[in-house]
Amino acid sequence: MTLLAIPVIALAAALWCAIPRSARAAPAVTLGAAVVAFALSTQVLWALRFGATLAPARGWVETDALGAFLLVLIAFVYMTAALYSWGYLNAEGTTARRVRLYHANFNLFAFSMFCIPLVSELGLVWIFVELTTLLSVLLVSYALTPEAVEAAWKYMILTLLGATTAVLGVLVLFWALHTTGSTDFTWAGLRAAAPHMPQALLGAAFVLLLVGYGAKIGLVPLHTWLPDAHSQAPSPVCAMLSGIETSAVLYVLLRLRNVFAGDPALHVGTWFALAGLISVGVAALLIVQARDYKRLFAFSTVEHMGIMLTAASILTPFGDTATLWQMLAHAVTKSFCFYAAGIAVIVTGSREIADVRGLLGISRVASAGLLVGGLAIGGAPPMAVFPSELAIVRAALQAHGYAVASLLVLFIVVAFFGVMWHVTSMLAGPPVTSARHRVPVTCALALAVAAIPVFVLGLWIPSGLSQALESAAKVLGT
Amino acid sequence: MTQSIALNLLQIAFVLLLSPLFAGILARCKELVQSKRGPSIFQPYRDLRKLFGKDERISEDSSWIFRSAPYFVFIVPLIVTLLIPVLTDFPLFFAFAGDMVGAGFILAISGMFFTLAAIDGGNPYGAMGASRTRMVGFLAEPVIIIVLFTVSFVANSTIPYIVQQHWVHPIANFFAPSHVLLLIAFFMVLLAETGRLPVDNPSGHFELAMVDESKALEFSGRSAALIKYGGYMKFVVLSIVFLNVLTTPWGLATNGSPAGLALAIALVAVKILALIAVIVAVESSYAKLRLFRISEFLAAAFVVSVTAMITEILHL
């Protein structure tokens, strides 16, 4: 029952934090729950790393190597974000009641994300994806400024619109399944029944689900909410949103890919590549003209989602491995970037790039974090994103997708240039302020913990993790 | 043949004699709903008798249009009753002399003369009312045409008698989505064309807010009586088109027997009373729309009618 314990722990922590008496203990309880959840999910991944499955309720709640892989990602970022929130909220100076409610909401958000890889029935998956939106909206508007409210509103409306489109896609897919006589509405059941489904229904479901879930991961042109929401939210929430929530929805799209890939007339690979490349290109250009460094990192999320979608369009085993590797690298790196950005906001008091100069003289922690973060997310060695992006390009070349590979390289280079230009312009020059704000201890600690996989995974993947990666890719490819 | 001519005359008598009564019942019911006692239901007859006995005053600067318009307004609804199924569901003598589009154009003749006469009379409120009526009229035109064409798709004809046979006789058609959509669209146009709330307040006295009423301000004596009478008859004629062709074509006489005709007269009167009840409910619930909101009202009617047409064509 370790599988079911993971979301239950997050839920229990949320309920604890909702009790009015617990304001002082709320951050500690959240952190404790996150650490336990991380330990449990690594245990599950270890157990499933050779491709076994765990099924407490077959047909409803079951998970395999791919699901366990996502669980570990979610748990890791949850853990570091919980650690970071402890100090970050104190620095903001808010009331005890708001802190308690923040942590309750935070745990509920983590609970809804944990449930996504654990369920295999498509209707339940949709419900939990919609719950992740609903439970993170109030977190985005936490600052209560008009900009935060605007960001939360846009986020909610656009993603709920996507969710409504997706539910129609789910229903049409169920209809198609019904015509084949089967009622097994799980990933495996759909993949088995897909060759027999009427093509009109399959095509309609594909379009609806790509548009609906695409709005949720920030595919251009439905990405307009992403920079707002992922920059106005408090930094630990940004880390969770950018790092794992988008990855969880991308996981759903990847699982659905194989249902539709069986019908060659749908050209799933072409559509994925088109959607992915457009997102990468537009995001790269948006990165160059960013004015707010948290928005900069949010645009980078759009770019990486596009990269992963393009990698998934290659449809080879090596391409799938590279996609999942990129998902891992992006989750740990993007959360690191947002932690660094959050520290910079605390230290300088502004989110605008133009307002921050000479960060090197103001705070060593902030500048080190931003420099490493910028290099890492741009894809420089020896950090985690470099080998995964290299693997994606190699997979594309191996599959003779020369246009795709060259466009990817071009856009990644443009984005790298944009990110580094802005980051270095913030670091160099005379310090813009002489005030020395103290960086909260837990924030710095969270930054250090988040840095570990960023560096380690750039050089070496532990054998257990690489076995799990292979098995997960195999699940993705079947 | 003599029988069908006689039935035509019976239809004209029905409309001629009973339309002031229906107008009186409508006015009384509205007042009752507002917890007032209201005038007697025979009051319109007394008003007409009074007006027919009075002198007429005609402006020297007005032309033959002003003098002849009341006759047009009075006679046109009677011509239209020759074309529509009032009491019988088999075609009568004049049934094929004009179809529904023709009936619409004939009604437009009276509207055109009345509008021109309002301007001709020289009353500033008349000109204002004329322009407002034209605005409502041209916005309502597309709705009427689309409604008529949609029902003729089904019936393969635009003759009202034939449309009535095919449109709702199969009971399944009564529940079809396009039917209820057409009903709502035509009802909204009925309210607009006969000058009822929420488009225009028929019992209002404030000239600047009038849409239809101000056109009749300049007429006196016999002309005013003819205009009023024509207004009552136009309302009854449009209601009969709505009820007998579009909504509830049942209950009409299938042969010329006196018993069948008597039953038909009673049933048609009941149907018109039911429609009056609905109109009273609508009029008592809504405030008069501001002038520029009338275009929204009629745009909604247009959208409903086009949706009905699409739904019907796609056989949903």
């Binding site: 900009e147 409210v149 409306i157 009427p198 009109a200 | 079809a176 739904t311």
Partner: protein
């Protein structure tokens, strides 16, 4: 018997489309909410009619849950959380005027029908009218979401979209796993709760709920 039920269902569908058009043309937020309640009741009626013969207790349960959550709980929630918007007869504003919105809604209805016809001819289902009307009403709800400026009318547009998706859903998948359908149906009050909370926060921080007019977060200042 089944024929009569299908005919009544067709009538309900006609009224559903009228309610969608009425939602587009109405000018008051309170009236918009009342039309939404009527629309939800029509959706429940369609579920009851389609589930009557052959009897499907899935659809009956869905109808009951729809009545409870959309016709009772959501209006109550909105009245409690944002009473100023609804009870004081607030007029709503739109980015484009009503006649233009109506004409665009007409075009979208046609597009929805066209897309649905494509699907309806591909496989059998309980009621093709449900699916076509559902798709058409979904697109009109999307239009309402896009053009309305205040928070509560935008929410009502979103909820109208969900109504339309379910209208299509009850004909597509009458035996959809019940737990998923019920959870979807319970998810809607939670949605309304959070949106209303956010509208309250918007009102407190900005003094107005005209969230459609917010455009301060962009690159070029």
């Amino acid at each position: 018997m089944t024929a009569l039920l299908l005919e009544l269902n067709a009538l309900v569908l006609g009224l559903f489309i009228i309610s969608t058009i009425a939602m587009t043309v109405t000018r008051q937020i309170g009236a918009c909410m009342q039309i939404f309640i009527v629309q939800s009741l029509l959706l429940a009626a369609s579920a009851f009619l389609l589930g009557a013969a052959p009897f499907s207790w899935h659809l009956f349960a869905l109808g009951c849950v729809t009545v409870a959550s959309k016709a009772v709980i959501i209006p109550w929630l909105l009245r409690r959380l944002v009473p100023g918007e609804i009870d004081r007869r607030r007029e709503l504003s739109q980015a484009i005027d009503v006649p233009t919105t109506l004409l665009i809604a007409l075009g979208l209805t046609f597009a929805g029908y066209a897309f649905a016809q494509h699907l309806v001819h591909a496989a059998d289902n309980l009621s093709p009218g449900n699916i076509s009307m559902g798709f058409a009403a979904l697109l009109v709800g999307l239009l309402l979401l896009a053009v309305r400026i205040e928070a509560v009318p935008q929410l009502l547009g979103l909820l109208a979209m969900e109504n339309a998706a379910f209208l299509a859903g009850i004909a597509i998948a009458p035996d959809f796993p019940l737990i998923a359908e019920l959870a979807i149906a319970f998810d809607v009050p939670l949605l309304a709760f959070i949106v209303a909370l956010l509208a309250r926060i918007a009102y407190r921080s900005m003094g107005t709920t005209q969230v459609g007019g917010l455009a301060s977060l962009k690159e070029r200042q």
